[in-house]
């Protein structure tokens, strides 16, 4: 039933990350590139979302009224507008603001930013079977070529996913922080712990037990939400899978493959988080 995945893909993929791909390679490899792109955008976005969530939650639980207000506005705005619209907003802003790819701006030596994307030096595979080498981007007729690059589609998707999920994580983390009795922090303060030590040694380890199960949901959502990539033309798993199903007519098979891959991704994320949670759970009688 899945034998058609060995057919040559016949289409190119604009962004392939660490994998090398051309149209003559089989369909399953195209889907693998799609999966790679899904992970390539999801994982950094996940880290960013955690960071944003943590900072905003600390802000919302801090003594400063300004920080509390700013955090509140952020959470309420971002959490209550559709992710798709946020994604399109970031995409159009980037496309509108960035300079044409014929006139990229150089941020640092070898780092270029334009409508063609963000290009940077990279050590990696050059061509299929040609080994690894350093590659340095430079301005060409139409584009910056060489090095590695992430497209505006990637940047807008990563940005939208981090900011959106960050708002939900902020609330999750805030709930966790508020579940820790303030007396524990006061005790730490009496022992001479600095504010940073109080947060990292007392507050967060306690809060994590409440945070992790709820955060798992957000992580799963983020990975699945990355499939909105289709809206801006980022070649993630769904985008490549859609193209594959369209080019081959194997609709049911392609949808099943995509669903199985997301299922596997989500189940392994959940398993990882459960393991982490079990490790941090209270041992023995409380």
């Amino acid at each position: 039933m899945l034998g058609f995945l060995n057919q040559p893909a016949g289409f190119d993929i604009g962004e392939t990350g660490l994998l090398v791909f051309d149209a003559a390679q089989p369909l399953w490899r195209a889907l693998l590139v799609g999966l790679g792109n899904t992970l390539r955008v999801s994982l950094p976005a996940l880290l960013m979302a955690c960071l944003i969530g943590l900072l905003v939650a600390l802000g919302r639980t801090s003594g400063s009224r300004t920080w509390r207000a700013l955090g509140g506005v952020y959470v309420d705005t971002v959490r209550n507008t559709p992710l798709l619209l946020q994604l399109l907003m970031w995409y159009f802003l980037l496309i509108e603001w960035l300079p044409d790819s014929t006139q990229a701006i150089s941020l640092l030596p070898g780092v270029w930013l334009s409508k063609g994307g963000l290009a940077f030096p990279w050590y990696g595979p050059v061509e299929a079977g040609a080994g690894w080498a350093w590659s340095w981007p430079q301005q060409d007729t139409f584009n910056v070529v060489g090095g590695a690059a992430v497209s505006p589609e990637y940047l807008s998707l990563a940005l939208a996913l981090s900011i959106y999920t960050g708002a939900f994580l902020a609330e999750v983390i805030r709930g966790g922080i508020e579940s820790v009795p303030s007396s524990l922090m006061e005790a730490a303060e009496t022992l001479g712990a600095t504010r940073l030590q109080q947060i990292s040694r007392v507050l967060l380890p306690q809060a994590l037990r409440t945070i992790v199960p709820a955060a798992t949901n957000q992580f799963l959502n983020l990975i699945k939400n990355s499939s909105l990539a289709v809206a801006v033309g980022y070649p993630d798993l769904v985008s490549v899978g859609n193209t594959a199903l369209n080019q081959t007519g194997r609709v049911v098979e392609c949808v099943l493959v995509m669903m199985s891959v997301y299922l596997a991704l989500s189940l392994s994320t959940a398993a990882l988080m459960n393991w982490f949670n079990a490790r941090h759970a209270l041992k023995g009688p409380a």
Binding site: G10, D12, Q247
Partner: protein, 342 residues
């Protein structure tokens, strides 16, 4: 119901899988019973299928839907149009959401043999081209080395682009969008250095969508042949024949000089047996198709002959001013060669 999303697609598929033979031979009956033809068109290619100022669907592809409705139902207005993007079109036809697909869809072996559909006839002989901003000073598609090219997902265009890039070692990077509009908007925003699609669609985009048409240029090369025409579900030979012969009939009408304007008069006065067969004043060709005698008369009366449809929508009398080129009749130096209506 429009299939707009994967869940919708899955649902449509489930329905299609449960009733694989329900439509065999039944499309004509279903259309008559419904009193309306369901026609799948593109989401808006000016000149081919787009809503006009009054919100009515109009264009080259649309006129073939109207011709079939006139032939089958006696009224060119009895058509419901479903705008479909490249990814939705085949599923919509397979699942029975539309009775025919009349949108810029290329006839290829893979599609013909594996998608559960049949291409009826060629209405437009097209080829794939490139639209580029003039300021890039590119005069040939072969100079697009390392360029980023916007393209619509799931099209033959996308595959031809990969072939073209590989054959000419151009390392073109495709930027793929799932809708036609998103692709050319990205070109106009400067995200890509070129947009590739069928040359007819590029002319339409340049003319109707570009902020300033003079800033853009369609490159001279055509990198593929794209025969476009209506498709129907596989397995309903009667319906297949009706759509196919409506197209051929309109083409033959041009050959015989029948027009929207003179068809009424020729119905009464013509003694040419070929004309009489075509418009039903002689032999009854409609009966063989399960229709009545005047099927083609009504189609011609509704939309005019093939040449009139071409000129009005995309040719000399339209804003697009596309040359007839290969789409001239065979006896005028073109490739349009309808089998005889007899």
């Amino acid at each position: 119901m429009q299939v707009r999303s994967l869940p919708g697609l899955a649902l449509a598929l489930a329905c299609a899988a449960l009733a694989p033979h329900a439509w065999a031979g039944k499309t004509l009956d279903a259309v008559k019973q419904r009193g309306q033809l369901q026609c799948g068109v593109s989401t808006g290619v000016a000149g081919f299928s787009a809503p006009d100022a009054k919100g009515r669907w109009a264009g080259f592809d649309v006129d073939f839907c109207r011709a079939v409705a006139a032939a089958v139902l006696g009224d060119p207005q009895k058509v419901a149009f479903t705008p479909l993007n490249a990814q939705q079109r085949f599923t919509a036809l397979q699942s029975g959401q539309v009775d025919m697909l009349s949108r810029n869809t290329s006839w290829t072996l893979t599609r013909d043999a594996s998608l559960g559909l049949s291409f009826t006839a060629i209405t437009y002989l097209d080829g794939q081209g490139f639209l580029v901003p003039k300021k890039l000073k590119v005069d040939s598609a072969k100079k697009l080395k390392n360029a980023q090219v916007c393209v619509q997902a799931g099209t033959t265009t996308e595959k031809n682009l990969a072939d073209f890039s590989r054959a000419n070692k151009l390392a073109i990077k495709p930027v793929v969008f799932d809708t036609y509009e998103a692709g050319f908007k990205a070109l106009f925003a400067g995200r890509c250095q070129a947009y590739t699609a069928d040359a007819s669609a590029l002319a339409s985009i340049r003319n109707k969508e570009a902020p300033n048409p003079d800033d853009y240029l369609v490159l001279p090369e055509l990198i593929s042949k794209e025969p476009l025409g209506p498709a129907v579900r596989r397995g309903d030979d009667e319906w297949f024949a009706i759509v196919k012969w409506t197209v051929f009939g309109l083409q033959e009408a041009e050959e015989l000089g029948l027009t929207r304007a003179n068809v009424d008069q020729l119905l009464k006065t013509s003694s040419d047996p070929a004309i009489q067969r075509l418009i039903g004043s002689g032999e009854d060709t409609g009966k063989l198709l399960g229709l009545d005698k005047a099927w083609l008369y009504r189609a011609i009366k509704a939309v005019g002959n093939y040449g009139e449809i071409f000129d009005r929508n995309v040719g000399a009398q339209s804003p697009l001013k596309l040359p007839r080129g290969a789409n001239k009749l065979w006896n005028k130096g073109g490739l349009i060669y309808p089998p005889p209506i007899r």
